[in-house]
Symmetry: C2
Subunit: 222 residues, 2 copies
DNA sequence: CATTATTGATAGTAATACTATTATATTTGC
DNA sequence: GCAAATATAATAGTATTACTATCAATAATG
């Protein structure tokens, strides 16, 4: 995948100045990923970020008008990246069943680093999404941000997988709910598994979440 | 259910002074439910709460050491109440299948007011759980609070339903994951349905979430 | 009715989430 | 290569938040 000129585009409404347009911007993004992961979103501040990158917090504010906007940006980037992975990961299959199977694996397995995007560590970003992304959607500003299209990449992921299901069984009545349950559930299961081992099931393999949803979804739609 | 002497007990570690032990304490709880619902958790402050109940914020701090603790208290109360509903709602069935069916309905249907607990409006509390409870579990203090037993009522709900599944089909390999997916998913589906109608499916009935999970779970476990 | 516990009233503090201003680099167009 | 525009640094300042502290007033209890 190296040297492939692919670019994840994030809606212009989600930043004041495009962080991909400068060295400082990229430093802001990559260092904030590190810091949010270490400190948690609540304890993360632009002041701490400024110190970490050797710039005043006022410089950070030229890219994002709040720390929440930065999280929203990361969220949008992550789901755009997931959509790109989904498209690339299913394009070569001819049958809808194979596509669905790949999609489930892709969305439910532990993330590996993608060398294509240098300033973003996808493994850490995934941890942030698992731990913090819920704060993007569970907020009084959610409707406003929905209108700005923030959730489009997320919705598109759901729609794409949903379409595979409808191809396999056009009569299944809940394709969207089922895929939503999986996409959202995989993240929550992975969060809860790491904090409350007993909520989930014994076998502690890396594929258990994907196995669970593969079994569940194929049983549901036949 | 009136005049029944039932009491939801919340672990002593979750408050400084038991809010059920005084008029002020109950006012704090019932008014905070209203305010968090109206303002959202981020904009909710003890100062605003103090003004709303006509007491200084320092008085509120004698019951809870932070607004987060208050949310944690509400979370613990809610899941204890759900467990009580679950026990009462399944006790009269003889077959595990009937128990499971009732449990799903109970956990996935819109909440109705329970007159048993006067100072708590369960309908509004449910809205708070849907919108904000995720902030209880997605926080750097989660492991500490887990050790204090905060999540026990939630886990017990999962275990009880999981036990019904194992009775029906002892060979189903993911009973806990399946129930977790439902309990957590029902909340998230209801949140997303109210903000992003298109993520979920067309039929906008009050029973759709329960219908979806009933179909899903019974297909999964046979 | 004296002691104790509870609440009210008020003040204060450190940190947070920004905004504003001016100086200094750095880039860009010509 | 130099002026003009732009980006960043350095610093200061503000309103709000999330508490803590103190002491007086009131209510409950023995």
């Amino acid at each position: 995948m190296k040297n492939l000129q692919i670019h994840i585009t994030v809606s212009e409404d989600l930043y004041l100045k495009n962080p991909e347009s400068s060295v400082l911007g990229k430093k802001i993004v990559s260092k904030s990923i590190e810091l949010i992961d270490q400190l948690g979103f609540e304890a993360f501040t632009f002041k701490k970020l400024g110190i970490a990158i050797g710039s005043p917090e006022s410089s950070v504010y030229r890219y994002f008008d709040s720390k929440r906007s930065l999280l929203v940006y990361l969220y949008a980037w992550y789901w755009s990246w997931m959509e790109y992975r989904l498209v690339f990961g299913t394009i070569n299959h001819t049958s809808a069943k194979e596509k669905l199977k790949s999609a489930i694996t892709l969305l439910c397995s532990p993330i590996e680093t993608d060398q294509t995007f240098e300033h973003i560590d996808e493994v850490i970003l995934n941890r942030i999404i698992v731990a913090e992304s819920i704060k993007v959607s569970h907020n009084k500003t959610v409707d406003e941000q929905n209108q700005k299209g923030l959730f489009n990449p997320f919705k598109q992921v759901i729609e794409r997988v949903s379409a595979f299901i409808s191809q396999i069984n056009p009569d299944y009545p809940y394709p969207n709910m089922l895929v939503f349950a999986m996409v959202d559930g995989a993240i929550e299961q992975s969060h809860f598994a790491s904090h409350f081992p007993k909520t989930t099931d014994e076998i502690n393999s890396k594929t258990i979440i994907a196995d669970f949803y593969t079994d569940l979804i194929f049983k549901a739609i036949q």
